[in-house]
Symmetry: C2
Subunit: 319 residues, 2 copies
């Protein structure tokens, strides 16, 4: 007997309440995007004058970002990354879209690895009608590698080619393994042969996510809202028959599979947009300290949160 079974409160009520909280958080994020935009622009102008600002930020990036950066990726970033920017494009100009949708834009100096000077990856927050997915989806972005310099060893090119094929042939949903095209089979094999942790950071640009169209997502969100509204008015109906279907254990070939060359694309996009980007000044300052500014210089300039070992009463905190 658990606490909730002794009461008249239902799990659905609690779930709806949590959803209310999440909606409020989204509204906050929406307002935040508008409020912060001019500050990010000011920061961009200031740091444009600091050589290696963004490479130094990446050097001190949190594990949620850093763990995806291989040594060869690091070489590209440290020598050639000129700027990073994150935009919550559905809301930051006052729009009423989803604040979780983001564009992450990397700007590069001329470099020996690829021709692109801009790599832009766009993520849309989507919800599937089958109830299985709610999160970020994206489209593979091609990189024009210089000869012999493809850090993804062909993975990204294949992912882009398959995406283009899918679009052309109108295959927008989940695909069963047995219905894979020869190109999909080849990519599947290659993914299986690549050890996780060994994939280049730049495979991130190949992330697709669950196949959910804008239209499907809009309808799924509306349906959810309507059901919550009915429940809130006490016109609840039994939802049992609408529970997500369980995937039947069956022949592997009969299962659907999403070919994903960078399965953690959403996690990395979130880590960049909610941590690396807003806290870039902090990471840069850390990099400066590591680079050997003396402690004295720094104490005079700014009180640091890390100085927790100080003797009382000189407890310092960031003012």
């Amino acid at each position: 007997m658990t606490a909730i079974e002794e009461t008249n409160v239902t799990y659905e009520q609690l779930a709806d309440l949590e959803q209310d909280f999440e909606d409020a958080e989204l509204e906050i994020t929406r307002q935040q995007a508008v409020l912060m935009k001019p500050l990010y622009e000011k920061r961009a102008k200031t740091v444009a004058d600091i050589p290696n600002f963004w490479p130094l930020v990446f050097e001190q990036s949190p594990p949620e970002v850093d763990s995806y950066i291989q040594p060869s990726d690091s070489a590209v970033i440290s020598t050639s990354l000129k700027a990073l920017s994150v935009s919550r494009f559905e809301v930051e100009d006052g729009g009423k879209g989803d604040p979780r949708s983001v564009v992450i834009k990397f700007e590069f100096n001329e470099n020996e690895y690829f021709e692109n000077t801009v790599l832009e990856k766009k993520f849309w927050q989507r919800q599937s009608k089958d109830g299985r997915f709610s999160g970020l989806v994206s489209e593979p972005v091609a990189i024009k590698w210089k000869p012999g310099k493809d850090l993804t060893e062909g993975l990204l090119d294949q992912a882009v080619a398959i995406y283009e094929q899918d679009k052309k042939s109108g295959r927008t949903g989940l695909v069963k393994v047995k219905d894979f095209t020869p190109e999909q089979k080849a990519l599947q094999k290659k993914i299986q042969a690549t050890g996780m942790g060994g994939v280049s950071f730049f495979a991130f640009f190949g992330y697709r996510g669950y196949p959910v169209s804008e239209e499907e997502s809009r309808l799924a969100v509306e349906k959810d809202k309507e059901e919550r509204r009915l429940r809130a008015e006490g016109k609840s109906k039994n939802d049992d028959d609408e529970a997500p279907e369980l995937v039947e254990e069956g022949d592997e070939d009969d299962e659907e599979e999403i070919l994903e060359i960078f399965p953690d694309g959403e996690e990395l996009a979130v880590a960049i947009s909610e941590d690396l980007w807003p806290s870039a000044l902090k990471y840069f300052t850390q990099a400066q300290e590591v680079d050997g500014i003396s402690e004295m210089d720094f104490e005079e300039l700014e009180d640091d949160e890390d100085e927790e070992d100080e003797e009382p009463p000189a407890k310092k905190q960031k003012a």
Copy 2:
């Protein structure tokens, strides 16, 4: 030679920019407090019908809270905690104060440990003029222990008594060890004899923080703002002579010491108000799961973020 030394950008510019970011974050927190208030009220009403809601939340509390709860504290909380509430009293009714100031209110059923049914701890965000402190300060709150039941073993009573003495005698600032009253010396000795980690959670009610009056804080904040404004207008002046004084190494008796029976009071207040409180439904749900609701029941009711091990493509996320 570090990156910033090669440019015209100064550390002060970066520090001011960080301060701009922090100001914006505070404004967000202010708006959030107003927006969330009705939701927290709705939640309070709903969970009031669930026996043990708050004890179960504490049972699953994050390490930043849980590590302060001793087994004997846990006995009080699990049998007697009726409600918890957090209020950002300076802003949540639309006020323009500091959103970091909070009241944490614990409501208890009759219990064998103390007479109080309400324990309320108020924290004010303050900044000292000497530049050494910016954070939460508070006043010790007395607990009427039942005979032989004082979980703090006299620490809290002593802290309260000294605070009352200080108020009466007008000692509002830092006190040098050599100027300690007999009561302060006794408390100092007791604190030194108490191993950290062994102190009761209820010693939290004795936290004071750095001695900064409302007036001192107001002036310090204004001075900071004015200096930033001048710098922003290019009327910067050399701040070297205003750097915080370093504490001279000297005779121990000649040093100032804050007698704090719960030195991590601020950290715990922040963990409760920024994590336990907003995420209470999540922690309660976790406790329910631990208490043995079967996985199947739960899968039908809500998709859980922890289900990361599922086979693709059934990647589930909280919708």
